[in-house]
């Protein structure tokens, strides 16, 4: 990206504000997901409640980012990297909002699971979360550091999460058949695994937005070889 300042200082201020909002929103989203999983594993209903309540902040951030983006389009008619920054920021905020929604869903299901006896194989969620969080963290870094190669790598790394999702879902599904009276909890876990798998997909989208910002390339629905060119 271009690093020298604009002649118009107000334009620079708006661009900085937009970036700052996206990074704050990303930090809050990641924090929500982390707390949702902790609430699930540590059976902490208060923590789950605060995740559900804090989703409003992320929703508000999405609105603010759209507003800032629209203002920049309206006032400064941005071109090239500036235009791509506005477009990718607005798209990234949409993906972050959806990730935070998944964190909320996990927190809600965590509360339901907590009301019954603890399941030993709940810990199978941990490695999925670890990978999903890594993907999310790297997607944000690819945007903030202008690292297109990192952004482009997420799609392939998300495949591992897809595989884990499949295996873990199969495990929980078999437990539904094998055990009696725990069907509800296992179904909740299957949905939580599904949410984490979606976090991987959405992080991969953010990585693609970062690639668009850096290289003006649209990686959506492209082949492996096109991605490896980044």
């Amino acid at each position: 990206m271009h690093s020298s300042p604009h002649i118009l200082k107000d334009f620079d201020n708006s661009i900085s504000a937009l970036k700052r909002e996206v990074l704050t929103m990303a930090a809050n989203t990641r924090h929500n997901l982390e707390r949702a999983i902790r609430a699930l594993l540590e059976r902490d209903s208060e923590l789950a409640n605060s995740v559900i309540a804090d989703d409003d902040e992320v929703d508000e951030a999405e609105r603010v980012i759209d507003q800032l983006g629209m203002e920049i389009l309206l006032k400064y008619h941005p071109m090239a990297t500036d235009l791509r920054l506005v477009v990718s920021s607005m798209k990234i905020s949409m993906n972050l909002e959806r990730i935070s929604d998944h964190a909320t869903n996990i927190a809600k299901r965590a509360k339901k699971i907590m009301s019954s006896q603890e399941l030993n194989d709940i810990t199978l969620i941990e490695p999925l979360y670890t990978l999903a969080d890594q993907l999310l963290r790297d997607s944000i870094s690819s945007f903030s550091d202008g690292n297109g190669a990192l952004g482009a790598s997420l799609h392939a790394r998300d495949k591992e999460l897809d595989r884990m999702h499949k295996d873990t879902t199969a495990h929980y599904a078999s437990r539904i058949e094998e055990t009696t009276g725990r069907c509800q909890e296992y179904l909740h876990l299957i949905f939580i695994v599904r949410s984490l798998e979606r976090v991987g997909d959405l992080s991969s989208n953010i990585g693609e937005d970062a690639v668009y910002l850096e290289h003006a390339k649209d990686l959506r629905h492209t082949s492996k070889s096109e991605r490896s060119e980044i």
Binding site: H2, S4, P5, H6, I7, L8, F11, Y76, H77, P78, M79, A80, T81, D82, L83, R84, H215, A216
Partner: protein, 256 residues
């Protein structure tokens, strides 16, 4: 051969000097037929000078000349002694920043060129004037007042009258030097819409300081800086992802 047919203006290694000052430095570019090509760049970058080279308007400035390279129009070198400057300027029309109608009627402004070229038949002249005014999207507005002074028209209408006057002599190329800089947004939109229509029949080269205008009206954009052609590419590419850092700096408002 097919490729060559699509090039209206072929500029090769052109240097242009005002006395000792080199205003254009080794510029090579091909301007495609029936497309709109925009020239952008900060003041003094040579874009207007190059535009004026295309119809040898710079011939009128003492000490100013192309010192190196060639400019071919439809395959013919425009500085060739066989090329008549007046005939060249018929084929390469020009529209200026400020509309400059002649102090005559609307009709006479458009009929002026064809008359000079020898057209005397009144019916033919009337047909040419109507066709040119229709082409410039002005006919409906002026058809009942063709004998009014051209100065009775608004600024935007005067500019479109000048475009009609250019079209009346059947050029192949129309050069526009900031044609909308003195117009309000509505008149600008009308001229831009007209540019869109005109490219079916003409090759258009437009100099503009308005980046959004270049993005809206042109197919290809050339960025000039201190006499050099820095980057020349499709307009979509130039404004979304220019290859050269200087272009990026200019179009994003970081220098200039």
């Amino acid at each position: 051969m097919g490729e060559e047919k699509n090039i209206a203006i072929d500029v090769r290694s052109v240097d242009f000097c005002y006395g000792k000052s080199r205003a254009i430095k080794d510029v090579t570019m091909e301007i495609a037929r029936n497309q709109v090509t925009a020239f952008i760049g900060p003041s003094g970058c040579g874009k207007s000078t190059l535009l004026r080279c295309f119809n040898r308007m710079n011939d009128f400035i003492p000490g100013a000349k192309v010192t190196k390279g060639t400019i071919k129009m439809d395959g013919m070198e425009i500085h060739d002694p066989q090329v008549d400057g007046v005939e060249l300027r018929r084929r390469v029309g020009m529209v200026f920043q400020k509309s400059n109608p002649f102090p005559r009627t609307i009709f006479e402004n458009v009929a002026y060129g064809p008359r000079i070229l020898g057209e005397k038949n009144k019916a033919t002249l009337a047909a040419i004037v109507e066709k040119a005014l229709r082409g410039a999207a002005l006919w409906e507005e002026v058809k009942d007042r063709l004998n009014d002074s051209a100065y009775s028209l608004s600024g935007g209408q005067q500019q479109r009258l000048c475009i009609a006057r250019t079209c009346a002599v059947d050029p192949s190329v129309i050069l526009m030097d900031e044609p909308c800089s003195a117009l309000d947004p509505i008149a600008t939109a009308r001229v831009e819409e007209l540019i869109h229509d005109l490219k079916k029949d003409y090759t258009i080269v437009i100099v503009t300081h308005n980046m959004q205008q270049a993005a809206r009206v042109s197919d290809r954009t050339a960025f000039f800086y201190i006499g050099e052609l820095i980057e020349y590419d499709s307009t979509a590419k130039m404004f979304s992802n220019p290859s050269v850092k200087q272009t990026e700096g200019y179009i994003t408002g970081r220098f200039g």
